[in-house]
């Protein structure tokens, strides 16, 4: 469960997040939809403790993510914007490293790693060094190490970027499974179809503000159009006019 209230983040010359509020519940997939530069990545980085905020509040399972970022981090598994791997380590070693950093016991770690390797269908690549992995294989390593500690909250920053159709599909299945397990899934995207197909609730973000928040139907109703793309454009425009 993630609750964001009036969050503000300023950089030297621009204000990237201007008072964002929304809630992402357990057992739901919540989508942050917005064009490039809308502030999605900044928002997520604040949630998983990489950036500090200049105002507002953010809670992860009731824990203040701004004050107790390490406790909040312990409840999050995330796929951040950059997904670099250590080319001299194997896939399994990547997963182990992150599990150990989260204080998992050896036994727990072994069982969980085996389960994830099985589930992500990565047996063949598990003990190979990641240098030369395809984008899909790298994504699997990243997902596995983000989920190693069975986090209640899963945050993903444009997770389908650069993936082919098959990998995208696998990722979607994975996210739906997480939802069925009762996890709180929050993902950002600028692809409308992806969000409308996958998400239970949608947060439309434009220029650092929430332009609309609700289910697909609610958003369509608010914009007065059936098509999400049209809804998005009209809501974003309206927001821009307000900002001006």
């Amino acid at each position: 469960m993630i609750r964001v209230t009036n969050l503000v983040k300023r950089f030297k010359h621009i204000t990237a997040v201007r008072g964002v509020s929304f809630e992402a519940g357990d057992g739901q997939i919540t989508g942050l939809l917005g064009p490039n530069g809308a502030g999605k990545t900044t928002l997520l980085r604040i949630l998983y403790g990489l950036l500090s905020a200049d105002g507002g509040a953010a809670e992860i399972d009731g824990i203040d993510a701004l004050k107790n970022s390490r406790d909040a981090q312990a409840r999050i598994g995330a796929l951040p914007d950059t997904l670099g791997l250590y080319k001299r380590l194997t896939a399994r070693e990547h997963i182990h490293y992150f599990g150990e950093l989260r204080g998992m016991s050896r036994r727990e770690l072994r069982m969980r790693t085996d389960a994830l390797i099985e589930r992500l269908d990565m047996k063949e690549i598990a003990d190979r060094r990641v240098a030369g992995f395809s984008a899909g294989e790298r994504m699997k390593v990243n997902i596995a190490r983000a989920l190693i500690h069975e986090p209640r909250n899963v945050l993903l920053d444009e997770p389908t970027n650069g993936l082919d159709i098959m990998s995208t599909r696998k990722l979607r299945e994975m996210l739906l499974t997480l939802k069925d397990e009762g996890k709180c899934v929050l993902l950002s995207s600028h692809i409308m179809q992806e969000v409308s197909a996958l998400c239970d609730r949608i947060v439309i973000i434009s220029r650092g503000r929430v332009a609309a928040f609700g289910t697909l139907e609610e958003i369509r109703a608010a914009a007065g159009t059936d098509d999400l793309e049209d809804a998005f454009v009209s809501l974003a425009k309206a927001d821009e006019e307000v900002t001006k």
Partner: protein, 395 residues
């Protein structure tokens, strides 16, 4: 579900383990950590062989001898003592002058006659003193012929019932110290500088990969998602750099001690011994060196915007480090306060050890504590930098 935030000690250990494993698989880091430390000791062997060549008499020399039929006794004595006798060409003096042969020995025809009469017989050694390379051979020849003459003299005295020692009131032994001094001076210039370089190079390979490299690869963001404090991350990485630096220093010290132990340095009139005290002094010198080199390399590579930049800055730093002792030489003789200058102090302490000087506690204390202070400062600043958004996401 795991919602633990592990202890600092646990986190540091996990990061240390990962970074050393990663480093051990990096052939560039390994090549640096293994090859460079042994290069110095190998260079020492090479240096020694040059000095030893100059000073020692050749084992076997080949000498053209004219009139060898006049002195069969002398000839067989020479051949027994490492001389290969050749027949000399006509007019040996001219030949030596024009350098077609390098030296020659002439035994005159009246030699047997003179010997038989008990009169001094003259043997000429023809050399060209401009040809320095022949000096060892000439001195060997001179020594052998004189020794043969002395034997004949002793036999003559004995035949007259006189102890031959009476005729040799003074024994002269020549000890040339110049080669030994030159060798020692060479060691003192090369060894300390090299040891400092090893400390920095070995930690540098890892430091660059762990900070600038981690950011350039885009793996830093994922790493920082873990519930580990930035301080513990820096400490884990720092300790891995220290481990590599220590490994390099151990290897290079072992190499130097082995080489100095096995080389017959006494031949040059040099004595370098490593007793327990010296080993303790060496440890007290090198450990702080490993700490400060790791601290500085990690700080510099964290400050740099890219891998390339950090490598550039680092090579510049190495040159400065190598030049500090040269600069200090101009300042004057070494005083106590100079032991507070990191890198220079370590080089100075190594020189003191090589000289066999007994350790001065205050020197070690000053050198060690200042270096440790610098290391702590470097780690602290690096931790501050790890907190900065500009470091995580680049500038």
């Amino acid at each position: 579900m795991t919602t633990r935030t592990p202890s600092a000690w646990h986190s540091i250990r996990v990061i240390f383990k990962k970074e050393t494993k990663d480093g051990l698989r990096d052939w560039r880091a390994i090549l640096t950590a293994l090859l460079i430390p042994v290069m110095g000791p190998l260079m020492l062997i090479w240096m020694f062989s040059i000095f030893a060549d100059v000073s020692a008499e050749p084992e076997r020399i080949t000498v053209p001898i004219a009139g060898s039929e006049n002195a069969p006794g002398l000839i067989s004595w020479l051949e027994e003592n490492g001389t290969t006798v050749e027949t000399a060409p006509e007019n040996p003096m001219e030949r030596v002058r024009e350098s077609s042969i390098r030296m020659a020995v002439v035994i005159p025809d009246d030699y047997p006659e003179k010997i038989a009469e008990g009169k001094p017989a003259t043997i000429e050694i023809i050399t060209n003193s401009e040809d320095q390379s022949q000096l060892p051979a000439v001195s060997k020849m001179t020594r052998l012929i004189s020794a043969y003459g002395a034997q004949i003299g002793a036999l003559r005295l004995l035949a007259r019932g006189i102890n031959p020692e009476v005729a040799a009131p003074i024994a002269v032994r020549e000890v040339d110290v110049s080669e030994g001094d030159a060798f020692i001076a060479g060691i003192q210039q090369v060894v300390p500088m090299f040891v400092v370089m090893v400390a920095f190079l070995c930690s540098m390979m890892l430091a660059v990969e762990m900070t600038a490299g981690e950011r350039e690869r885009g793996s830093i963001e994922s790493l920082l998602l873990n519930p580990v404090s930035r301080r513990d991350m820096v400490l884990g990485k720092y300790s891995a750099a220290v481990a590599f630096s220590v490994a390099g220093l151990l290897l290079t010290s072992a190499g130097y001690i082995a080489v100095l132990g096995y080389l017959p340095v006494e031949e040059l009139g040099v004595s370098i011994t490593f007793d327990g005290k010296a080993l303790m002094g060496l440890t007290a010198t090198l450990l702080p060196l490993a700490f400060i080199s790791s601290g500085l390399t990690i700080l510099i590579s964290t400050l740099s915007r890219s891998l390339k930049e950090s490598q550039t800055v680092m090579s510049f730093m190495l040159i400065v480090l190598a030049m500090i002792p040269m600069f200090m030489e101009n300042v004057g003789p070494t005083r106590t306060w100079m032991y507070a200058i990191p890198s220079f102090s370590q080089q100075r302490l190594i020189i003191d050890l090589l000289n066999g000087e007994s350790p001065v506690f205050i020197h070690y204390l000053l050198s060690g504590s200042v270096s440790l202070l610098f290391s702590v400062a470097a780690v602290w600043i690096t931790t501050r930098l790890f907190h900065r958004e500009a470091f995580i996401f680049g500038r």
